[in-house]
């Protein structure tokens, strides 16, 4: 009797574990990875803003900021439209530290471009820096996109 109960209990537990695995996968499958197109547009906008500010061209700054905000909202809304949001495993402290690194990098890219442009007459420097920033952001988005699908291929195998 004890063995039968133990067997049933073990079988029930296995069924419960199987159903947990199934639901976890179902949830993860619903995550919409960051759109590569929207990500590319956002990367170009940020790179352009850094390049233009570095070159001392402020005419389009306001419109670029508005477009960057719109694109960011569009990316967030696209992710939320699936009805699930991905769990960020970074703690609040790590996110704060990350922001503390990214914000100075953003401003140093602009200041670096301005310095090279005004002191050494390298008019192309801000545009090269802007290009590097664009490629860096795009690479981050593309790698996040690929790692999302690799994770599923790994899980399916």
């Amino acid at each position: 009797m004890t063995n039968t109960n133990k067997h049933l209990k073990s079988q029930d537990a296995q069924e419960a574990l199987d159903s947990i695995k199934k639901m976890e996968n179902a949830g993860l499958k619903r995550i919409v990875p960051a759109s590569r197109l929207l990500g590319a547009i956002l990367a170009i906008l940020i790179g352009t803003q850094i390049a233009l500010l570095g070159a001392g061209i402020r005419t389009y700054n306001t419109i670029l900021i508005v477009l960057i905000v719109i694109m960011t909202i569009a990316i967030i809304n696209k992710n939320r439209s699936a009805g699930v949001t991905e769990r960020i495993l970074l703690s609040k402290r790590k996110i704060f530290i990350l922001l503390c690194c990214i914000i100075p990098l953003y401003f140093s890219a602009i200041i670096g471009g301005q310095y090279l442009h005004s002191h050494f007459n390298y008019f192309w420097a801000p545009f090269v820096i802007g290009g590097i920033v664009t490629i860096s952001i795009w690479s981050l988005i593309a790698s996040a996109y690929h790692s999302h699908f690799n994770k599923f291929n790994k899980d399916n195998n």
Partner: protein
């Protein structure tokens, strides 16, 4: 498997599935949980309320295009209880009594 704990609130099939769905995600919308579980709104609401009452999940409401959407997420307490419950299930399966 130390510290594993069988949780009767979580173990009910629908609530177990709800916790499993929420566990790898930040938050999930009501309609998604309903679609994945294949249950009616009232049945799902009942189970969600039970989990909410013991502090395992929390809900947030947001309005999109005038429509109210309910988002659910596991609390730290709920996540811990779910992890301990899964550990206990694994312990039972492996036969470590």
């Amino acid at each position: 498997m130390e510290g594993s704990k069988f949780d009767t609130i979580i173990h009910a099939p629908n609530r177990l599935q709800i916790c499993a769905l929420l566990s790898p995600l930040e938050q999930v919308e009501f309609r998604v949980i309903r679609e994945e579980l294949g249950v009616s709104d009232s049945v799902l609401s009942k189970h969600l309320k039970q989990l909410e009452d013991v502090g395992y999940i929390k809900q947030k409401k947001s309005k999109v295009n005038g429509r109210e959407r309910r988002w659910f997420h596991l609390t730290a307490k709920g996540r811990k209880a779910f992890e301990l419950h899964v550990q206990e299930l694994k312990r039972i399966v492996s036969g470590l009594l």
